[in-house]
Amino acid sequence: MLNESELIEGCCKGNRASQKALYDHYCRKMLVVCLRYSKTTAEAEDILQEGFVKVFQGIKNFRQEAKLDTWITRIMVNTALNVQRKKMYLYPMVDVTQIILPDQELSLSGINFNELLEMIQALPQGCQIVFNLFAIEGYGHKEIAELLGISEGTSKSQFARAKSLLQAKLVKESKYYDRYGESKI
């Protein structure tokens, strides 16, 4: 079993076995990242494929200042954003004026990530991207605005809408579980 440095060195030399090993090591985790930014698995796999090609082509530039998985994740996110940006050109994000947030903050502890993933994928395009960037990747609204070419206010409103939609779904799920005696939330 090769360690990470050896994998990187092999990938830098274009060694196919090293590339495969690197892929095998990170593909599952990266597919989750891609799934968060896409609507379907096929779309996510396309992003994964394109992202890994970029990884192998650009791994010579990886300076090992950050963790490898962080670097690969960033590439996947950027690849996903590039794909989604084309769609956003067709359906530009706009400010959402009336957002009704629930009085009580809901907790997601114990929720199955598959269910959460389905909820995120069900969000509108702009909301999905902004939610992922802000809530999971940890970008600020200013950075998101720069990344997506939108205003900071739009980013905030899109996130608020995403959060509202998710919480509404969670409340619905909560009532469902309350009714049938199993609470996940």
């Binding site: 590339q19 495969k20 985790k29 989750v32 494929q49 890994f52 903050e105 997601l108 959460l116 809530a135």
Partner: protein, 481 residues
């Protein structure tokens, strides 16, 4: 809802995805591999293209350097005619003034100072003006200074100096080339020796034409002459029309000839004569000579025709003589005489007198008009061609010549009294092997066959004779151009 409370939701979302994994399908890696191979291939192609471009650039650079070197060396040998110093200076300074009045003024002063020094020291050196530097000769003008009047040197042959002008002028016109300036000027530096010539040696007069132009004109003239020569040679090589004269000798055989029984019974057999059969079947020699004209129809096919005089001579043995009514004159026994006997309704048997066997020569002459098509198998200096055609043979006469001197020699021309057909047609076939020994001459050896398409005798004679002739001809051909 506080910010802390708000952040809990995001953190819990993030935590929900920690450690989450989903297996991608197997096709993803396959597609990644394909993409990588594709990009590696295109990278290799780009590298190849880069090296190709690099090689091409290197080649161009080498050619450029070689060209500049060659041009420089040539200019050493054949310099250009230059104008005098003052004009060049004024022209140059004037150009500079147009571009930058302030900087040009200084440049003009420097240039004129330098030229003034040179006018006293080395009057034979002029200034390479802007025009001369482009290779265009500059005519001297009136009012030239005495020192520089009438002296011509090359722009590159000068002891050239590169002067970098003052900054404002430099901004618009980077380099001025002119005659040697003082060494004190820090902006002055010499060009390489490659571009210099010895002093006081005007290379050629102004009136003398440009040697390069002369050489080009001479080359063009020579090229035209060579082209004309090539054309003439090509025409010389072509054999389109020719005429030939020649003779042929060979033999003929009439073994397949026959005498019909009815004819033999009525005409000859009753007279106990065997001459018709002997004469008709006699083999002999054939001679011909004539003139032929030929033309090439295409690269391989030719057509030729002409006129020939043809003689076929054969011997047979006769055992009778033919006499007149009182046997006052005796003639050799032949088909001719026997036919006359039958036609005259004489008592043929009474006119024939047996005698000792004697030899009779029958010589038949034709005027032949052959037309043949030929196919050139080999068409070089040595040529080989196949010929085939037909010949129209006009019977001229036949001569019966008995051996010894006691019997008269008889000649029978074409007509009713002649047993021979007036016109015959023969098939011709042969080959022609020739050798060209000059622009106009070719000698050919052509063996051939001649076979009559019908009997040479008239039909009512009752004799079928188609002598097959084989002869070998020698022809001298004259080729027209």
């Amino acid at each position: 809802m506080t910010d802390m409370e708000s952040r809990k939701f995001e953190d819990s979302c993030k935590a929900a995805f920690d450690g989450a994994e989903v297996n991608p399908s197997d096709g993803v890696w396959t597609n990644i591999e394909l993409d990588l191979e594709k990009s590696e291939g295109s990278r290799t192609r780009r590298s190849l293209l880069f090296y190709k471009m690099l090689a091409a650039a290197s080649l161009l650079f080498a050619l450029g350097v070689a060209g500049i070197g060659y041009y420089s060396i040539r200019n050493q040998d054949t310099p250009y005619v230059l104008s005098n110093t003052d004009n060049a200076i004024s022209g140059l300074a004037g150009d500079a003034a147009d571009a930058d009045p302030v900087g040009a003024g200084r440049a003009r002063e420097d240039l004129q100072d330098n030229a003034g020094q040179r006018a006293g020291e080395r009057p034979d050196h002029g200034l390479a003006s802007a025009e001369s530097s482009t290779g265009q000769p500059v005519e001297p003008q009136k009012g030239q200074t005495s020192g520089s009047n009438g002296h011509h040197v090359s722009a590159f042959a000068l002891q050239n100096i590169l002067v970098i002008p003052s900054e404002p002028y430099l901004a618009r016109s980077p380099i001025i080339s002119f005659s040697e300036a003082s060494g004190a000027n820090p902006l002055v530096r010499k060009l390489p020796e490659l571009y210099t010539l010895k002093d006081d040696e005007p290379l050629f007069d102004e009136e003398e034409p440009d040697p390069g132009a002369l050489l080009l004109a001479q080359l063009a003239q020579e090229e035209m002459e060579y082209a004309a020569l090539d054309k003439r040679e090509a025409e010389d090589r072509a054999e389109r029309i020719w005429t030939s004269v020649g003779f042929a000798a060979g033999g003929f055989s009439s073994v397949n000839s026959s005498v019909s029984s009815s004819a033999a019974n009525s005409l000859y057999a009753n007279n106990s004569s065997t001459v018709p059969d002997k004469q008709a079947k006699a083999s002999g020699v054939a001679y011909s000579f004539g003139i032929t004209v030929g033309a090439k129809l295409s690269s391989r096919w030719i057509l030729q025709g002409g006129v020939n005089y043809l003689t076929q001579s054969s011997d047979y043995i006769a055992t009778n003589v033919v006499g007149d009514n009182n046997f006052g004159t005796l003639k050799a026994e032949s088909i001719n005489e026997l036919d006359k006997l039958q036609s005259a309704d004489y008592n043929a048997s009474g006119r024939l007198a047996p005698t000792f066997p004697y030899s009779v020569n029958n010589s038949v002459q034709f005027f032949s008009l052959p037309v043949q098509a030929g196919y050139l198998i080999l068409n070089k200096k040595f040529s080989l061609q196949l010929n085939a055609g037909v010949s129209t043979d006009l019977f001229l006469q036949n001569t019966i010549t008995p051996e010894g001197g006691s019997l008269e020699k008889t000649t029978q021309g074409s007509g009713a009294d002649s047993p021979y057909r007036a016109v015959n047609f023969s098939g011709l076939m042969g080959t022609e092997l020739s050798y060209r020994f000059g622009q106009h001459y070719r000698v050919a050896l052509n063996p051939g066959l001649r076979y009559p398409l019908n009997s040479v005798y008239k039909t009512d004679i009752g004799i079928q004779s188609t002598p097959l002739t084989f002869d070998v001809g020698l022809r001298f051909r004259y080729i027209f151009h």
